[in-house]
């Protein structure tokens, strides 16, 4: 049965590959701000893929339920 939510094997492979790259960047001296951006993007991907909604139009807005909350 197809899962309504959750990470697929392909999502997990993507996350593993991202984690490896980020650690490599850390070893090669990327600054903290860059590291935080990379980890934000990783979290965003993880959260949105789990809920099967893909990348948001505006990556600054991770919400699933509303585009913006004013």
């Amino acid at each position: 049965m197809k899962q309504a939510k959750g990470l697929t094997l392909s999502d997990q492979n993507f996350i593993n590959s991202t984690c490896r790259s980020i650690f490599k960047f850390e070893k090669h001296g990327v600054n903290d701000s860059e590291l935080r951006q990379q980890i934000y993007m990783l979290g965003l991907y993880n959260y949105r893929q789990f809920h099967k909604v893909g990348t948001p139009k505006d990556i600054r807005n991770p919400r699933i339920l509303e585009e913006t909350l004013v």
Partner: protein, 152 residues
């Protein structure tokens, strides 16, 4: 959609064989320059590239008799595209790409790892019907999402 437009990818260099090319595993084959980028903007760029590659393949197949290199082109999935490696976008070329700005002074590929750049290249279709991205320019770049830092 203009498929001859260059492909531009901004991100961090995750693997680099642009100063010391990747040795060929097949005797007699040329060495190739390889660059792998961890894109800054998430997965949308992967979808965008795939969409442009599909369009370019269709165009190449329709016009295959005009290009002697593609006359025998097949439109099958027999050969895999060489666009991505996990979460990285792969560029490869037989001609050494140009590096700009401070990147010109770099002596070894190892020093390029973690540098934030914009790679500029094109979608290339092989006669087996598969695609890869070439790269001709590696520019120093500024991040587009610096404001994503929550502690800034």
């Amino acid at each position: 959609m203009n498929t001859s437009k260059p492909v531009r990818v901004k991100g961090w260099i995750a693997d680099s064989y642009v100063l010391e090319p990747f040795p060929s595993v097949i005797q007699g084959m040329e060495e190739k320059f390889v660059l792998k980028i961890h894109p800054e903007g998430g997965t949308y760029i992967f979808d965008l590239i795939e969409e442009r590659v599909t369009q370019k393949k269709l165009e190449a197949f329709e016009n295959r008799f005009e290009d002697p290199l593609l006359r025998e082109m097949e439109y099958t999935n027999r050969y895999q595209d060489r666009l991505f490696d996990g979460a990285k976008i792969v560029f490869e070329t037989l001609r050494k790409p140009s590096l700009t700005g401070n990147l010109k002074r770099v002596q070894h590929d190892e020093e390029l790892i973690g540098k934030f750049v914009e790679a500029v290249g094109h979608i290339q279709i092989l006669k087996g019907g598969n695609a890869f991205l070439s790269v001709h320019l590696i520019d120093e770049a500024a991040r587009s999402y610096e404001d994503l830092d929550p502690f800034k």
